[in-house]
């Protein structure tokens, strides 16, 4: 049990990734799938931030960390997450606009009923 407690943040982010993956794999409504993709993204972003986290660390501002006499958290993963959030938003926007067009053509968002192309 102590493992889960010590690594609670990792458990949380992988939990989110798995929930998202479950939604993408099981649900057939495109909007729900987009939500699933967003959950995966959120989980991954939280994972990235927690990789750079230090217990009791301050914000990565050099002068403030010195004044407080504490260590700073790693700023690089935070920069990565900012980029990853922007990418995630653009994928979500594109996915939703595809959903709009899909609804115009098929009158449904249920992907199990949208299968004109086959292997």
């Amino acid at each position: 049990m102590s493992f889960v407690a010590d690594y609670l943040h990792y458990t949380g982010c992988f939990g989110l990734v798995l929930i998202g993956l479950y939604i993408v794999l099981v649900k057939s409504n495109l909007i729900k799938i987009v939500i699933g993709i967003n959950l995966i993204d959120t989980g991954v972003n939280l994972f990235l931030v927690s990789v750079g986290y230090i217990q009791m660390g301050t914000a990565p501002i050099f002068s403030e960390a010195q004044a407080a006499g504490r260590e700073m958290v790693d700023p690089v993963p935070q920069a990565l997450v900012l980029t990853a959030i922007v990418i995630g938003v653009s994928v979500a926007a594109l996915a939703l606009s595809v959903a709009v067009r899909l609804y115009e053509h098929y009158g449904t968002l249920d992907l199990s009923r949208v299968r004109e192309l086959k292997w």
């Binding site: 993408v24 790693d74 690089v76 899909l102 949208v114």
Partner: protein
């Protein structure tokens, strides 16, 4: 001397200018992609002799490596960006006349972004930067697949987007693991320290990265999106997706496996996956009646062959794989482009509608035949020396297992020959369908803007096939760029 950073900056800048110009005056936007790619071609040709002697490491922010993001313009990076520029230029010329309906300026913006992403991927020396360029490539290709806005396009765009987005998340997860383990994102710095970490931890991160990039590379269990996406996109986009986009995915897998992690046992996996991808791709292509789906499945088969060559993990194997990358990019672009106007004229993608095309569109049909023969691997086309190098590399191992795999690969080639000869026969020797003859006068050959790139591609395929030395001189250094981990670390970090 021009800096390699222009290879990324100029197309990216043009991509931002295109929609602004499109607001004022839409007509000239169609020439911008061609202009950008022509610029890249010239810059690449200027850079090539220099980077063959000494790779050029560009410090984008002024800090010495391993800090900040760097570009590594080595023989492989510049050679691949030249290939991207060449195919991109020819497809852009084709698109000037071909793309006339819908949001033309947006099409060209996305097209430029796609090529910027691909060029950035092959030049960057930073793992997260690789991911960013990868996402640029992916997002613009999702949008371009659905560009025409018809039912098939939107459906395949949705499928591609879902699978691609999950794949990208896996890549990002892998990057998170790598950063947690090594505290750095510079590929050379990771490669330097990879030996000091326990193999199990390394395996987890490499598994995420290879799986994520494998979705775009369309290796076997991850390629369900490809036949739909490549067949539903406009022909010019199919050409660039088959010719460039999947190669960028393969490049990312190869870079991660060979340069960062240093071979190990992963090439064995690549070998098996490659052969399976080849067999499934070729056999599925054999049973298709839709010409574009057939070409898409044939792309899967060729990717299998490329991954097989990489999986050999020898210098000659990787050389063969890179040769195949060039030959498939040229041949598949040629096939999609030449078939584009045949589909446009007949209004159908069924192979039966193409009967007798040899008489109605002689130049396109001839060029299609050249591309098909090159893919099958007949001499004197470029496909022959490429396939020959891969098979020879497999036999060089002097191991019965590798010889058996080479035999399976050749079996795949036989299947490939069977379906391509069927189409070539249909094009040249079958009578056109009823009613087609009367339309002959108005529905003739494709316009000049389409014939020029098609003929140029055909000429290149024949020229390199007759005289492969123009290419093979560069393949050796490019293969070493991928395989020689120590030299890669030395060039970037100076240790």
């Amino acid at each position: 001397m021009v800096s390699p950073i222009l290879l990324i900056a100029v197309p990216l800048g043009l991509a931002f200018i295109t929609p602004l110009l499109g607001l004022l005056w839409e007509k000239p936007t169609r020439y911008l992609p061609a202009a950008g790619m022509a610029f890249n071609l010239v810059v690449g040709l200027l850079l090539l002799p220099r980077v063959l002697q000494e790779p050029w490491v560009v410090r984008t922010a002024g800090f010495p490596p391993p800090f900040s993001i760097h570009l590594m313009a080595g023989p492989l990076g510049v050679a691949l960006s030249l290939l991207i520029a060449l195919v991109g230029l020819l497809v852009a010329i084709y698109a000037i006349g071909y793309v006339r309906e819908g949001a033309v300026a947006r099409y060209h913006t996305l097209y430029l972004l796609l090529l910027t992403g691909a060029t950035g991927m092959v030049l960057t020396a930073d793992l997260f930067n690789l991911f960013v360029f990868f996402e640029m490539l992916c997002i613009s290709s999702y949008a371009l697949v659905g560009y025409s806005g018809d039912r098939a396009g939107i459906e395949s765009s949705a499928k591609y987007l879902i699978q691609g987005a999950v794949g990208s998340s896996l890549v990002l997860l892998g990057i998170g693991f790598v950063y947690g383990l090594f505290g750095t994102l510079s590929m050379a710095d990771i490669a330097r320290h990879v030996g000091s970490i326990s193999p199990m931890k390394v395996f987890i991160s490499v598994a995420f990265l290879v799986t994520g990039f494998g979705v775009e590379a369309a290796v076997l269990p991850l390629n369900a999106w490809l036949p739909d996406a490549h067949s539903s996109a406009p022909s010019s986009i199919s050409a660039i997706l088959s010719g460039i986009a999947i190669k960028a995915g393969v490049y990312a897998v190869a870079r991660v496996v060979f340069t960062i992690y240093g071979a190990g046992t992963i090439p064995l996996l690549l070998l098996v996956v490659g052969v399976l991808t080849l067999l499934i791709g070729e056999m599925s292509a054999f049973s298709q009646n839709d010409i574009k789906r057939l070409l898409a499945y044939s792309s899967i088969g060729q990717i299998g062959l490329i991954v097989f060559g990489l999986g050999l993990a020898s210098v000659s194997g990787v050389r063969g794989a890179l040769f195949l990358v060039v030959s498939h990019a040229l041949a598949k672009a040629l096939l999609f482009l030449s078939v584009g106007y045949m589909i446009y004229r007949t209004g159908s993608t069924e192979i039966s509608a193409l009967h007798g095309m040899g008489r109605r569109m002689p130049v396109s049909s001839l060029c299609f035949t050249i591309g098909a023969f090159s893919l099958v691997g007949l001499p004197p086309f470029i496909g022959f020396p490429a396939k020959f190098t891969v098979i020879m590399a497999a036999l060089e191992k002097a191991d019965p297992g590798f010889t058996a795999l080479a035999a399976i690969v050749l079996l795949g080639t036989v299947v490939e020959g069977a379906y391509f000869f069927r189409i070539v026969q249909a094009l040249h020797f079958k009578a056109p369908p009823e009613g087609a003859a009367s339309e002959q006068t108005e529905h003739g050959e494709a316009p000049v803007s389409a014939l020029v790139p098609v003929c140029l591609l055909a000429a290149l395929i024949v020229a390199v096939g007759v005289y492969p030395a123009v290419l093979t001189d560069y393949l050796g250094p490019a293969a070493m760029d991928l395989l020689d981990k120590a030299a890669y670390i030395h060039h970037i970090l100076g240790v």
